[in-house]
Symmetry: C2
Subunit: 363 residues, 2 copies
């Protein structure tokens, strides 16, 4: 039943009415969207199926399947014909059907730490995401993001998981109990990728010694962070070997790493004349940036008067810094290998990824 009625109104009322109609439309749309909540998906491009391809080629679907999957039991000529035809009509095998029949899922869960606080201001992690995404796709795997809040969904949706930002004692026992394959970074427990950070700084310290540096200061931040600790350890080992005096300084990363480093250095430059150090080994590139700027502003020449080194070699900071390069693609590759190994039944193990000294202008 339709309401049919003419309403007279003046222009003011008309405007009111129009905006009212707009409002009602909005409400209705939201209502529709609200109730269609289980139907948010889209038709997957209903592409050409294996049946149509088989029809066009005049063969059975089995032959097509064999041709496409490189399975034996088909003549080379037919295989070639099917493959070229498949190219021609741009056939894309249905991912869901494949998964259903095989009972396998290519989904790898990428689990983000509960609070992105620590996470978000380490650009290193974003680069790692990028590298993992590229590498997983190349392997035919699908990287799906998970927040720790819905970690229980990981089991039913993924085949394995990469835990970013997990700590040694904060690993999910659920995964262990269910024998669910997963990899952590920098924990060294279970299947884990660790970076030989200590060794990197160790090599770096020796490198500086060879360049004639004798009074090296290690500048770290928030020493409770495990990575900073490893880097300090490498410095200490080298310093002890070389019979030099150990100098350690720690700034807070509460605010901004480079600013903290800058102010700390400025204080040192002003308080102690002559300046007692000939090299500053920074726990990361951001600190190094601050140190170099401070040296410049205080009238010291880098690297002539003072060598400055960083760690990470992230593109934003380190175009001129002598630093330790982290091979992020290799780290991603190692993580995926560890998953594969576990899926193939091998026991979890630790892969150590090597770092590389990159000599640039600052040291």
């Amino acid at each position: 039943m339709l309401l049919k009625k003419t309403i007279w109104m003046n222009s003011h009322e008309g405007f009111l009415c129009l905006s009212l109609v707009g409002l009602i439309c909005d409400i209705l749309k939201n209502l529709i969207l609200y109730f269609k909540k289980s139907d948010h998906y889209c038709m997957s491009n209903k592409s050409v199926t294996i049946h149509e391809l088989a029809n066009l080629a005049g063969v059975s679907i089995a032959s097509v399947s064999r041709a496409l999957n490189g399975k034996p039991g088909i003549s080379d000529t037919l295989r070639a014909r099917i493959l070229s035809l498949s190219e021609e009509i741009n056939y894309q095998p249905n991912v869901m059907a494949r998964q259903l029949i095989s009972g396998k899922t290519p989904v790898v869960a990428l689990c983000m730490p509960p609070s992105p606080y620590e996470f978000s201001d380490r650009p290193y992690f974003v680069h790692l995401y990028q590298a993992l995404t590229l590498y997983l796709h190349r392997k035919g795997l699908v990287p799906v993001l998970f927040a720790y809040e819905n970690i229980d969904q990981v089991f039913s949706q993924a085949s394995s998981a990469i835990l970013l930002g997990a700590t040694e004692d904060d690993r999910p026992e659920i995964f262990d109990r269910q024998k669910f394959p997963y990899v952590t970074l920098e924990t060294g427990v279970g299947a884990s990728v660790v970076i030989d950070e200590a060794n990197g700084v160790y090599k770096l310290t020796h490198y500086l010694f060879k360049k004639g540096r004798k009074n090296m200061l290690f500048l770290g931040e928030n020493i409770d962070i495990s990575t900073s600790q490893g880097r300090l350890r490498g410095y200490r080992k080298a310093i002890n070997e070389l019979g030099l005096q150990e100098h350690f300084n720690n700034v807070s990363r509460q605010i901004s790493s480079s600013l903290s480093a800058y102010r700390q250095m400025m204080k040192l430059f002003q308080s102690s004349e002559p300046f007692p150090y000939d090299a500053i080994i920074c726990a990361n590139d951001e600190l190094a940036v601050g140190v170099i700027q401070a040296a410049e502003d205080a009238g010291y020449k880098v690297p002539e008067d003072l060598s400055v080194t960083g760690f990470d070699d992230l593109p934003r900071f380190s175009n001129k810094i002598t630093t330790i390069h982290q091979d992020i693609p290799k780290i991603a590759e190692a993580a995926v290998s560890l998953l594969s190994e576990q899926l193939d039944g091998f026991p979890p193990r630790v892969i150590e990824v090597m770092t590389r000294l990159v000599s640039r202008e600052s040291a």
Copy 2:
């Protein structure tokens, strides 16, 4: 045929042999892994199926399906019985079968920009990832990471896409041609979420004026970045309305935002006595951190002598800064709504997310 032979060797040879065996084992393992490359997936936990559940309940699979999906045509008692039994045996419906039968995929592609350069050092994006992940999961959608390098795979694997870090002129025409639903951020073209940044700074400027500030400096960075431009626009509008003098200063973000801001402010503090400004409006929180630190070091009191404001309200920086809060969960929600609307046939539109002034200690 087994080789059976006793070999005598001395301990040195024995050690050599053992490490050789280890080496060979390693090579073999790598070979296995290499050739099994197409089989990286895992058996999806072969959980209980709808059939077993139906058997246990003594009913048909159709009734179970109806009960689980809240469809009508089933008695309340049976529905309750099936649901409780399903809980009991922890039945998880098979995602792949569901997708296959429905022809729909819940996959939403999250596309990362080609170079994470600009991307990685904006913590804001990481928070957005987190928010998007949470919200998509709540909606039953699956966030899958894609690099721009394999953007062509998006079509066959996802139902829609969220493009992070896309610019106005750098949007993929492929998506438009294929009528593939997608959302961009901050471009304002097609389906897009924009933040009323200009308005945020506009309100902030008025707020400072009400507090008695008359000489306000806007401190931006790399003005070519679109966000900085919008923020500057808001400042200009308010300043003109208030009949005040416009003051604009731009620092390079090449190095570190807060350090650049710190040095710039120090220069200003030292060069001009008395200091001409009573408020610094920073384009983001990082800059504000540097400004506040500089003021403190130069002996100025914040906010008594100098008001300092930021933008973004990211947890790391802004615990004490008066700033403009970006409602990241709301931005995520808006993006997903825009996708849903397009999937439901509505035309793409722009949603503007409002910002909010958060008054804290610095102004």
